[in-house]
Amino acid sequence: MMFSLAVMLLGVPLFFFISQWLYLHEADEALAVQKDEFVRFYLPEIKEDEIAVFNKLGSDVQIEKNESGIVKDTMYERSVYNHMDKDNEPFRILKSPVTINNKPYVFLVKANLVDNYELAKSTLGIFTVIIVILLAGLFIITRRLSITLWKPFYQTLEQIEHFEIDKNSNPKLAPNDIEEFNRLNTALNKLAERNTLIYKSQKEFIENAAHELQTPIAIFKGKLETLLQRPDVTEEQFEILDKLNDTTTRLNRLNTNLLLLSKIESKQYNIPEKLVMNAVINQKMDFFQEQAMAKNISINTSLEPNIIVNANLFLTEVLVRNLFLNAINHNINNGSIIIVLDKNALTFSNTGDSRSLEADKLFERFSKVNPSSKGNGLGLSIIKRIADNNNWKLDYFFKDNLHTFEVRF
């Protein structure tokens, strides 16, 4: 399209100059023939006193005295005023030195040329019309073609754009008439299938690994508790056993969270219901108030009543629980937590470390901001997963020394 336009635009001046050159060439040839004719047939017969008559009869051929001393044929262009048109018109003029009666004369022959400007104008006009028609035609045809030709491609593109590997729905790319697109679809179908399979087996692996770990953890925990009951356990041994106990708890938490993560991704919790958000929060309040008290943390709430969201109850409870846990676990002694709920968002703000966290890594699995903390780096990624599941937007920001997590419904 652009190419044809460029060719056309280049063609206009080219055509103009070529046609002008050809035209001049023709005019020059005609003048030369006229001169040759004069020289051959009339010059030997013409008398000096006949020159005036000759000049009077023909306006395009003249004989003048050779005053400028022309020695050979000269050809030039000049505008001459035309009394009929009342306009200057271009003329091509040939001057040739002749000898009449042994005196030098100049034979002059001129031909009317088409006005350069007129020529250019009409050339341009014709070309413009051709270009416009051509471009319009091209545009319509390519559009038509691209719509029909590329239709299967755009269908494929749309499906691929909406493909999410964790959503359990492979793109359904239908076969079509165009071989290349058929190949593309087959390749994409294979790619999607293979990736989904790999994704599934990896998810299953995590789930199975977590499941299989539960039995050894259970054995470990049972043996520890049995050991704890022995009457001869010393204080030092007791302390070690207690630490081991805490470690099994952490191990188990890791397991539970991994299982939870893989379950959020499966369809198990996809059934939404209408939930009164403030009720979900208040239900947990007593428990977490108690937890906060151990660190002397105050909890201030501003919950708008009757905020109804469409979400899965279990997952929403987990979300609220993890937000609470996060706000308590990463808080300082004598700190505070502010919970705000309105119809747009739920925010948990807490005091804590006096610097902002790295927001881009925060929601990744196993990204621990504070390596010494007992958290396993899964709590926030679970929050993120659940928010994603509900198409809620999760944001973190640090302002006025408060770490704030905001869930926008």
């Binding site: 207690d242 708890t249 660190k295």
Partner: protein, 225 residues
Amino acid sequence: MKILVIEDEIEIASSIKSYLKSNDILCEMADDCETALEKIALYDYDCILLDLMLPDGDGFAILKELKKQNKSDGVIIISAKEALETKIEGFNLGADDYLTKPFHLSELLVRIQSLVRRKNFNGSNIITFNEIEIDTLAKSVKIKDKKIDCTKKEIDLLLFLIGNKNKVLSKSAIAEHLSGDMADMLDNHDFVYAHIKNLKKKLKESGSADYIKSVYGIGYKWEND
């Protein structure tokens, strides 16, 4: 009291057996469905602990069999499966309680006690320990026939301690009992200390002896000295 432990993991079964032994609970073992069904047909148990994944079948088959035989043995499922559907299916098939692995043995013990209490029609809801009397239905505590003011949590804690009398309890075991499935998620078990302190104070004010002993400042033990 006699219970049947249906569990294929020998180490778990033996831990359960040794923990419950000192509380006068006799454990019989079955490590597969076949043995379990045999024992169920022959004897009556106060309580059955049932693992769901057994080498020769599903634990649910045993629940169905119990129903078919019209047995009224109380059943506590002990399983690593924590899916809600599995729990619901278990309850629908007649299980009385569900404990997800891994669990604290102290938790298992109070669950067994509570189940047996509920199942015994001639038994009462009153638990007594010297001068302390707890009504598990009305959720009230009396000391020397005088009612004392306790929160639900404190009564829960008291029952847990008395149920595990003479046993050393770690803070995490108590925390798990008090906070249910949330316990795993908590970094900090200091709230246990606050509850113990409050309970101790209330018991002391009402003229009860001090039965709650601290073990090296880390664990607790209910002991009659």
